[in-house]
Amino acid sequence: MVDLTIIQNYYNSISSSPSSETAHYIPYLNAFLAILSVYLVYRIIFPPTSPNGQVLNAQQQAKQKPQPVVYTKFTPTTLQPFNGIVEERVLMAVKGKVYDVSAGRSFYGPGGPYSNFAGRDASRGLAKGSFDEEMLTPIDEPMDTLGDLNADEIQALNDWEQHFAGKYLLCGELVEHL
């Protein structure tokens, strides 16, 4: 205790004006700092059992995982709305398989170079390397059997199919009737 008084006197002597106006908050400050210290020590001994921010963050992210899409059988009529305009998703049929090409929206979506194929059976167009409207089988006509393709065109179509299978999600199949 004696030492402390000496130090206090020393401080008092070197400070020009020991302000009595500011000193009144000192006990409160001391109490606050002491409580904070005690709390921190308590938290070292007993870490909180409630999840911390990192865990809550991870929990939140887990909730936002995309929902799996249901594998669906489409007919040409039910597939048509999936062109990126009527429905948000962009789907495309190749050789009877329906791929979700939403990831390639800039190509297959509205305004893209292949937007004709969105929501349609693109097999003939891909086989012949043409992206024109006349390559598409009209919705109300029977499905394209692709019987008249030559070997090169079949090869081209198979290459395209592989490209789609590797890049996009197979999410259904195209059938004549449900």
């Binding site: 001391n30 921190l40 909180p48 963050n57 992210q61 799996p68």
Partner: protein, 528 residues
């Protein structure tokens, strides 16, 4: 500044010291929380009326599911079989504590066990020429291990009869499995009540001491009549021959039946689950891969399986420990509870134990000091680290494997589940076990038709999710879906659990009759 009172300065100093200590001693969690909330690899497409397909993150889609031990042979790898497991086991030790309080008796693989194995197989072949099926009704003894591996080496099938005391039940198991030879411990089977199937041609009796083995044999001879020959284990091993060549199992035999486990389904029907070498080995390989190398079975480990080897889960864990070259010690078959004194003498690092036994640990009564330490331990667990054990039972124990076996049953209502809570452990209870024993706990969901677990909790997952039974993601040898039930929708990730993969007793998707749901974190939770 200079007129700040010294008391304030000292408290501030202490405060800074505390903060500095916290920063220096800060421990990162054993696993990033993100990984705990993404424990499954989920297929992006699902069929209607069922959930997406769930897989382990170790074997995501486009990767093959675990099929075997990946044993290098020249430039190729093969899955391996039970004989390979025996070869791996030679790196480790196998010990038995025969009587309470005895020292561990270690058996040497090269000079003792392997010759014994070949002798046993050739003797069995003498007793029953062309023997194909051996029934085992033994506790965790050297006879059990030797007989099952002898069968594995000589393409015989072992029937693991559950150690139940109801003779009628065993009769039914024998009837459906049709073994040609039955090996059992003296005094456990009551032959006045037991009806043996016609297939049985030989009984091998394991007597407690050599002195009275003739007595046992004579007694049994009178009871079973002359059509069945009676031998004792002493007869079998009386002159150990030393054959060096192992009969080469033809390639097709690896997919043929190797281990058969009869069980009673809830509808009272007795059924058989038959596992081939391939099924078994894929389950073993899964156990060695699913846990990080630093935590898995190692040659420095002392593993104690505390439950009966007649249970397929316990046997798979035993085989996994052998494959890793760990020291395995058996100390009697205590199916419920465990003798702490006995285990302390062995000082295990890994325990394989039934969940029923762990309930005995949970029933401790905490003192005031223990309560404070428990509170600290649970806080450390919540921050993702493993605390020191609160109960210092086993100083070296680091890992506990336990499981909840679900018999195939129709469990649609909550009330029927409430009657059968004996073995299950909730997430909160698992958390308490981690705090009490200071060891990681891996809790598995099993089913008689699947070798090894279906799902098991992540080794670093210390989350306390409350009073729910959480089993973690599906193991990397299987893939799983839940399908619609009457009240639950697979689209909501709830329903009946179906699995597919190599460790299953049947091909294709098989039903487990377990009702549950997939959580956001990719873990399977049992409902009801």
């Amino acid at each position: 500044m200079w007129n700040t009172p010294p008391l304030t300065i000292s408290i501030t100093g202490i405060l800074f010291l505390i903060i500095a200590y916290r920063l220096v001693r800060q421990r990162y969690p054993d696993i990033h929380p993100f990984a705990l909330y993404h424990q499954s690899s989920i297929s992006p497409v699902r069929n209607s009326e069922e959930s997406a397909v769930y897989r382990s993150t170790l074997t995501p889609f486009t990767y093959p599911l675990i099929s075997g031990l990946n044993i290098r042979e020249g430039h190729s790898f093969r899955d391996g079989d039970l004989r390979d497991i025996w070869n791996f086991a030679k790196k480790g030790k196998l010990g038995f504590v025969n009587k309470k309080g005895d020292a561990i008796l270690y058996h040497d693989y090269e000079t003792e066990l392997t010759p014994l194995l070949h002798t046993v197989a050739s003797r069995f072949n003498e007793y029953v020429p062309g023997i194909k099926k051996i029934g085992i009704y033994l506790p965790n003894s050297i006879e059990n291990v030797i007989t099952s591996f002898a069968a594995a080496h000589y393409s015989m099938e072992t029937v693991l009869l559950p150690l139940v005391s109801d003779m009628g039940e065993i009769s039914r198991y024998l009837e459906i499995s049709q073994p040609e030879l039955l090996i059992f411990e003296a005094g456990v089977l009551d032959f006045t009540k037991l009806s043996l199937p016609e297939s049985i041609q030989c009984l091998v009796i394991v007597v407690p001491s050599i002195q009275d083995h003739l007595e046992w044999k004579d007694q049994l001879d009178e009871k079973v009549g002359s059509s069945i020959s009676v031998r004792t284990w002493e007869d079998v091993v009386s002159s150990v021959s030393h054959p060096t060549t192992v009969v080469d199992v033809p390639e097709g035999a690896l997919t043929g039946p190797a281990i058969t486990v009869p069980y009673t389904a809830t509808n009272g029907k007795v059924e058989l689950a038959t596992f081939s070498h391939r099924n078994t080995v894929s389950a073993v390989a899964t156990q060695l891969r699913i846990v990080p190398k630093s935590e898995s079975f190692k040659s420095t480990d002392i593993v104690i399986p505390l439950d009966s080897l007649q249970n397929m889960y316990i046997r798979i864990m035993f085989l996994s420990a052998l494959t890793a070259g760990a020291t395995v010690v058996f100390c009697g078959t205590t199916s419920e509870g465990f003798d702490v004194d006995d285990l302390q003498a062995i000082n295990p690092t890994i325990l394989v134990v039934s969940s029923k036994s762990l309930h005995h640990v949970l029933n401790y009564t905490p003192g005031p000091l223990t309560n404070l330490r428990l509170k600290r331990a649970q806080g450390i667990l919540a921050s993702g680290n493993l605390p020191w054990p609160v109960l210092r039972l086993f100083p070296k124990l680091r890992l506990i494997y336990t499981h909840d076996e679900q018999l195939p049953r129709q469990r649609e209502t909550k009330s029927s589940r409430a009657n059968d809570k004996t073995g299950s452990l909730t997430s909160a209870q698992l958390s308490l076990l981690r705090a009490l024993l200071g060891a990681r706990v891996v809790y598995a969901l099993t089913n008689p038709r699947i070798a090894g677990p279906i799902c098991q909790t992540h080794i670093y997952d210390y989350r306390n999710l409350g009073a729910v039974r959480v089993f973690g993601p599906v193991v990397p040898a299987l893939e799983a879906v839940v399908k619609d039930t009457e009240h639950l929708k697979g689209g909501d990730r709830q329903g009946h659990l179906f699995v597919r993969g190599l460790p299953t007793a049947d091909r294709g998707w098989i039903t487990t009759n377990i009702v549950g749901e997939w959580g956001d974190d990719g873990c399977f939770r049992e409902l009801y």
